[in-house]
């Protein structure tokens, strides 16, 4: 769940990060003018959208006077950036930056640990720096099991050849950001640029924070403090009717999960899940050249009717030719109950299970009964000796052969 820049900065300020002077959000040009008068001096006004590319789109403007700030705010508030209009305009003092750094903490899915990233080439895309100037980037993983130790931050900063007071100041900033990352279950905490001012102090010129969506409930107090409503999903686009219906199917029945239904344009419907299985399977389908019609996450032993309704929903989507039912090895979800649900859904949608189900690959709990069901209805299935990747390949091959 992505935060607007002004929310990210409010979180950073709460933990002592220095921000540019002012740093207030205006919702009207008149408010921007008033804030500008309060701050004084050269200003920067930034569109508050949940999208990158603000500078290129004209969503960041520099001004000198309150009157200019009012005009700039008027322009920014009318501007659409990547389909989004601004929630407000952040008005800040323009800082005299001597050097720009990049500092980020994010989750490394491969290492299964958070990673801190620091670069002395800030203000541009970190991916670009990584590609063209890898020697200007330092990375350090840290454990989530132990309290964060400052020496980890110091090692990171020192590995870029930074010494003296910069080393001490940056160590404190890096360590604080790592702790904020852990404390609030963030998936990304980024300051880019982290500006070093002429007097040697540092300031968070721009900030970007993503909160793990599943941790929203745990951090209600923070969200309330930042003024983020409980209903705000902060997705890249509003949910489609298909996705809303998917959510309803999940919410109406407390048994198990059939959630995160996301619509795509493809022809292969997916009933997928289990401990990260959804992402793996979705990627596997794409890797084999398949064209998914949807993403979803089933698990936690959903009821037969829940799976049935999800199946019917997916099959009701125009263009869906077949569905693939695939999960990792399951323990608390029952293979036979999922099999009953999808078969029933296919039949109630007016199709033959043997025709509509490209593959059923859910090994695990109650698979003996599940496989008997699938045999009775002539559905192709496979057990755990067939990998998820291979099962996805079989489903895609079937789609291509049809």
């Amino acid at each position: 769940m992505r935060f607007y820049e002004y929310e990210s900065k409010a979180l950073l300020a709460k933990h002592g990060f220095p921000l540019p002077k002012g740093s207030k959000v205006a919702h009207t040009p008149a408010e921007a003018e008033a804030i500008a008068r309060e701050i004084g001096g050269p200003l920067v006004l930034k569109s508050q959208v949940l999208s990158g590319g603000r500078m290129k789109a004209g969503g960041v403007l520099f001004t000198e006077t309150p009157a200019e700030a009012k005009a700039a705010a008027e322009t920014i508030l009318k501007l659409e950036i990547n389909g989004q209009t601004a929630r407000g305009v952040l008005v800040e003092s323009k800082q005299p930056i001597a050097q720009e750094f990049y500092l980020g903490v994010t989750w490394d899915g491969t290492a299964k640990k958070p990673v801190m990233i620091l670069s002395d080439m800030g203000g541009i895309d970190i991916e670009e720096v990584a590609e063209q100037h890898p020697e200007h980037i330092a990375k350090r993983h840290f454990s989530t099991l132990m309290p964060f130790a400052d020496h980890k931050a110091k090692e990171l900063v020192a590995s870029l050849g930074i010494t003296g007071s910069d080393l001490n100041r940056l160590t404190r900033i890096v360590a604080t950001l790592a702790r904020v990352f852990q404390q609030y279950d963030l998936t990304l905490a980024e300051i880019n640029p982290l500006g070093k001012l002429e007097d040697g102090s540092f300031v968070a010129v721009d900030g970007h924070v993503d909160l793990e969506a599943e941790a929203k409930g745990k951090h209600k107090k923070l969200l309330e403090e930042l003024g983020i409503g409980e209903d705000e999903t902060r997705q890249a686009r509003p949910p489609t009717p298909f996705e809303i219906k998917g959510r309803e199917i999940n919410e109406v029945d407390h048994r198990g999960v059939a959630g995160n239904v996301t619509e795509f344009d493809g022809t292969l419907g997916l009933v997928i899940g289990a401990g990260g299985g959804s992402l793996t399977l979705f990627d596997a389908v794409r890797k084999h050249g398949g064209d998914p019609a949807n993403y979803c996450e089933i698990g936690g032993n959903p009821s037969v009717s829940k799976v049935c309704n999800l199946t019917k929903l997916i099959l009701s989507k125009p263009g869906v030719e077949k569905i693939a039912v695939m999960m990792n090895v399951v323990s608390n979800t029952r293979v036979d109950l999922v099999a009953r649900g999808v078969i029933k859904g296919v039949i109630e949608a007016g199709h033959e299970p043997s025709e509509k189900i490209a593959i059923f690959r859910i090994p695990g709990s109650w698979e003996r009964d599940g496989f008997k069901l699938l045999e009775k209805y002539g559905v192709e299935y496979c057990d755990r000796s067939v990998s998820m990747y291979e099962a996805a390949g079989r489903a895609v091959a079937k789609m291509k052969a049809a």
Partner: protein, 81 residues
Amino acid sequence: MGLFIEIKVSPDAAKDPATVKKLSEVCPVGIFTAGGNGELEIVDANVDECTLCELCLGVGAAGSVQVLKLYDGNQPLERSR
């Protein structure tokens, strides 16, 4: 009758108030309920939700409730404990 499961209850058990009450209590997915006349009613919409938990098999006289797996040659579910 469901698509995958069929439940059979003997007429005597279906009329016995104590058995009807117990069946309504034990089934985790609400397959059994007491009708207006106090006799047992099977909730068709819930039959396919049967988790094969065997709890109903232990209610009333032996064999008074049968759970048939229609996907497995109409095999009756047997108590495993």
